[in-house]
Amino acid sequence: MRKTTILFCSLLVMALNIQAQSYKLPDYKSFTLSNGLTVNLMEQHDVPVISVSVILPAGAIYDSSQSGIASLTANALKHGTNNYTKSKLDEALDYVGATISTYSGKEYAGLSSKFATKDQELVLNLIKEILIAPTFDVTEFEKAKARTLVSLTQEKESPRSVIGDYNNKLIYGNHVYSNKINGLESTVSQFTVNDIKSFYKTHYSPNNAAISIVGDFSTKAMKKSISKLFSSWKKGKTSENLASQPVVPYSEAKVLLVNKEDAKETTFYIGGKGISRNNTDYIGIDIVNTLFGGRFTSMLNDELRVNSGLTYGAGSRFNTYRYSGTFYISTFTALETTEQAIDKTLEVLRNLHENGLDEKGLTSAKNYVKGQFPPDYETTGQLAGLLSEMFWFDFDKSFINDFEKNVDAINLKKANEIIKTYFPKDKLQFVLIGKTEAIKDIAKKYGKVINVEIKEEITGEY
């Protein structure tokens, strides 16, 4: 949703056969408070709502031996503040239909919020209280901890929920990027409210953080109000940069075989090392991955689903962080077709390396990523999230504004180079979640097998 495009829309309709107009990022103002907090403000007046996205360096990479502490701390921010008990806070938000959610990811923690323009004073003040003056009520903490412990048991009932964590352990080894965001039962069960208070104290500070606000407001008034609300937030120490440590490369093909006794299908990832978000070939890699496993007609889905009916869906992705990333192919199939599906997957990957791409496929992928781009930045929430990402990964509006130009610049030669450079070919890393008894002989074909039980904790370096 962008007012800025209204001007050339008439042109657009007259020229239906011409490629859609390129998408430009709406203007926004950016400034830094004296405590180091970066503030981004973007006006969007189409709907009378405001979205807020806050990003802080307080993710699971800082868990150290307390697996899950970052996530529980982020959740506990909403357990009450100096001026609001948890129930008063919940009531105040619910009454106006506003949402504030706090969470921790792998690298950063975040807050996202959406509310009606008319409620901005109330909700912005609540956001401030949650970030600057949380009280970490002990009763509420114990409840949240108990819920987390049950959910940690429950996630093992769904292969899809845990396969990513196994994959990260396999590829990142003991690097902090292998830290499991929602934690382990053995550590979470030991936490006290003092642990989260201490994590908060160390990691929640305005320097190295950003607040991005998009929606129906006046920049001038919002600047004044944000400066007033957040200036009292005290600057903290910058945390040690743990994630920039190099990832120790794996030396051989490995198969992590996870036994789920009642499995009727095998869920699997195949992959290896990926790229960091700031890789200069990011857009080119996205285009090639679109063809390989990023859309319905991709090579993987075409072969495993459309041609053979082995699965409901197969795909691949590059999961990127600031300093590193993974690449993985993911799919699932009936226990009895496990071998056939894995072999086919490997054949598709081999074909990518041996045959590369053709001109028609490349054009199709380029049209596709361009055509699907604008709806990613249509709402105030999407735009606020984008501004947070731009801050975190340190890219600027040229990513949006030059996107089409950069897509167009990828030619066949470049695309084929990208395959060779970035798509893993050997020493592949496998995670198979299924019934070990039924697939253990198949697993041996692909590398050194490591046997684990899904009901055990994901603690090991594999």
């Binding site: 056969n17 429950q154 009916g309």
Partner: protein, 436 residues
Amino acid sequence: MKKIIFPMLLFCMSITFSQIKVDDVKTFTLENGMKFLVVEDFSIPNANMYSFYKVGSRNEHQGITGLSHFFEHMMFNGAKKYGPKLFDQTMEFNGGSNNAYTTENVTVYTDWFPVSALETIFDLESDRIANLSIDPNMVESERGVVLSERRTGLENSPWRSLGEAVQATAFQEHPYHWPVIGYQDDMKHWTQGDLERYFKTYYAPNNCVVVISGAVKTEEVKRLAKKYMEPIPAQPEPPKVFIVEPAQTGERRITVQKDVAAPYMMIGYHTPEAKNDDYYALDILSSILTSGNSSRLYKALVDSQLAIGIFTDYGLSFDPYLFNFYVVSNQEVSTDTVEKTIYDVLDKIKEEGITEKELQKIKNQKLMEFYNQVETIDGKSNNIGTYELFFGDYKKMFDAPANFNKVTIDDVKRVTKKYFTKSNRTVGVLKANVEE
């Protein structure tokens, strides 16, 4: 999204749809009965096409259960001009993507594309509606796909098997009895003839409503609709679903075994279809019970640590369906305690009603919900189409604020008393140990 009528907010302090008004939806019907609803919105250089077919698993019978959903898959597997694979390949080459879904009531096809691809989309859609070719080889490989879809659903979520059991128990005669995905044995035995008959009966232009939102001009949409869709002949109206589920006369209970850490529970009460006058009060009741951390059941179950999570769902349907409660119990808490707590909360509403403040809270939330829905061109198409099908007229979308505003404290109390009785419910529990 067009920027319009903000001043309206000043006049209407209650819920109002300020961003889209009834006149913004342009509508026309082709000679073959295909109805179009169009919203011009130039906020991004994209558009979408949502095709709503009035066919779902309620139109099936035993022996062909799951066929509506399977047919949804077959609609991507080749027609006359665009053979196997070409529908997706052509759409993606032109920058578009698509998806589709099937429910008990409807099958919906969704295309999202840069507006430059509009004519191609019409060409693709009209080809498959006019001349779908049902290739036996494609049928076989697609059978594997839907069997995998069923299997992976069961593998990854306990709600799948519990939901199927509760639905089958609550409905004994009406086709809501079986799951949308179908019975595994039926899935293995559909015939070519079943598919061809289904296509001819239900995939007719007169059984379809098309909604298009985005950077389009209505006149251009009309020109393309006439060119591509109008030549497709209408078909006789599909047979009516005449089965009415007999009133339930006693509580029903069902248990399902699965290796889970803590029990999952569902409680379903028979409730009326979307067109019924009680729809709005029941929808508000659902929010009163579970919308947000300040809701009644969240406080009674999650805050009190009896459960890990609770939600309710009162969905849209053509025939009377269910108002469902979904609870994950806490470990060490008996499902009896959880169940009783839910009934206590309902009883309290039956006796004392809800508060004025609670009612106003839900009305405020409805406004935000609406903003979220119309913030995107997808939300617009989906909402407009949904109202057109389930409420019989897209204009009802614009009456919804008034209809929600009309709901009183007494209405909520009345519907709670009327529908939430012991004899009207089905209780399902999924747990590891079913022998104790």
